[in-house]
């Protein structure tokens, strides 16, 4: 499967906007692209906009959590934005929402970034 991914870097924030289904078929590419962009930009805030993600399982979540662990170690932060109900349930059940803040929009995520 292809990974449909939109990325935007703006003043220390990397916006990641994946589209479609985040499962095992895209995890390697998803992780690879994120690592590459985290390496070439100085990122202190990573915003995952999940509004166009229709499916996620623990393989997809693992990529997000892995990036969170990395950034947290460097003092950076990771925010989640716009998850659809079925995706949100998975975020809740996984415990991801207990370690990462969730916002309604990218603007809110940026505005509230401490």
């Amino acid at each position: 499967m292809d990974l449909d991914l939109d990325l935007e870097y703006r003043q220390g924030t990397l916006f990641v906007r994946p589209r479609g289904e985040l499962d095992l078929s895209v995890t390697d590419r998803f992780r690879g692209i994120l690592e590459e962009n985290l390496a070439k930009n100085s990122v202190n805030h990573l915003v995952f906009n999940l509004s166009r993600v229709s499916f996620i399982d623990s393989s997809g979540l693992g990529v997000i959590l892995g990036r969170y662990k990395k950034l947290a170690r460097q003092g950076g932060r990771v925010s989640l934005v716009g998850a659809q109900p079925q995706v949100r349930r998975i975020l809740v059940l996984s415990g991801l929402l207990t370690v990462m803040p969730e916002y309604r929009s990218e603007e809110e995520a940026v505005a509230r970034a401490g």
């Binding site: 095992l24 393989s59 998975i90």
Partner: protein
């Protein structure tokens, strides 16, 4: 009407989506809600991903088998591989336990949360079969783990 189908496919990551769509199409013969079908899809993705990554250690030439049965308003799924197997099933079922540092150890947690029953049979070197069931019209899945 009772029904049965069997799906076999190669251990390729692209087949995770194929497997969950197929099972959801079969399951839709019962009166599952859209939410139930989403839950079934996650459970299938987890079991199939495990067969591919852990069972066959990402070799593309393994065969994953899914037997789907509808009987008395209940969907039963048997998802099997003839891969590596699990030495300690009890340990594997623990939340956050994973033999792969890049993974979360939540696969079995999701299967257990989203289906009514979960049963794991495995023999090292022989393979693993995960049996899960869910009744149409049952309140959100729960707990019953056996091994």
């Amino acid at each position: 009407m009772d029904n049965q189908a069997k799906l076999e496919f190669k251990s390729l990551a692209a087949n995770v989506a194929f497997a969950r769509v197929t099972v959801a199409a079969f399951a839709s013969q019962l009166e599952f809600t859209l939410n139930d079908l989403e839950e079934i899809k996650v459970a299938v993705s987890e079991a199939v991903a495990n067969a591919i990554i852990h069972g066959y250690e990402n070799r593309p030439d393994g065969i994953v088998t899914i037997t789907m049965t509808i009987s008395n308003g209940t969907l039963e799924l048997k998802i099997g591989d003839r891969g590596k197997g699990i030495a300690n099933v009890k340990k594997a079922l623990e939340p956050s336990y994973s033999t792969d540092p890049e993974r979360m150890g939540l696969g079995f947690v999701f299967m257990q949360s989203f289906m009514d029953t979960l049963h794991v049979e495995s023999a090292p070197g022989k393979g693993t079969t995960v049996t899960m069931s869910k009744s149409a019209g049952s309140p959100g899945g729960k707990e019953q783990i056996e091994h």
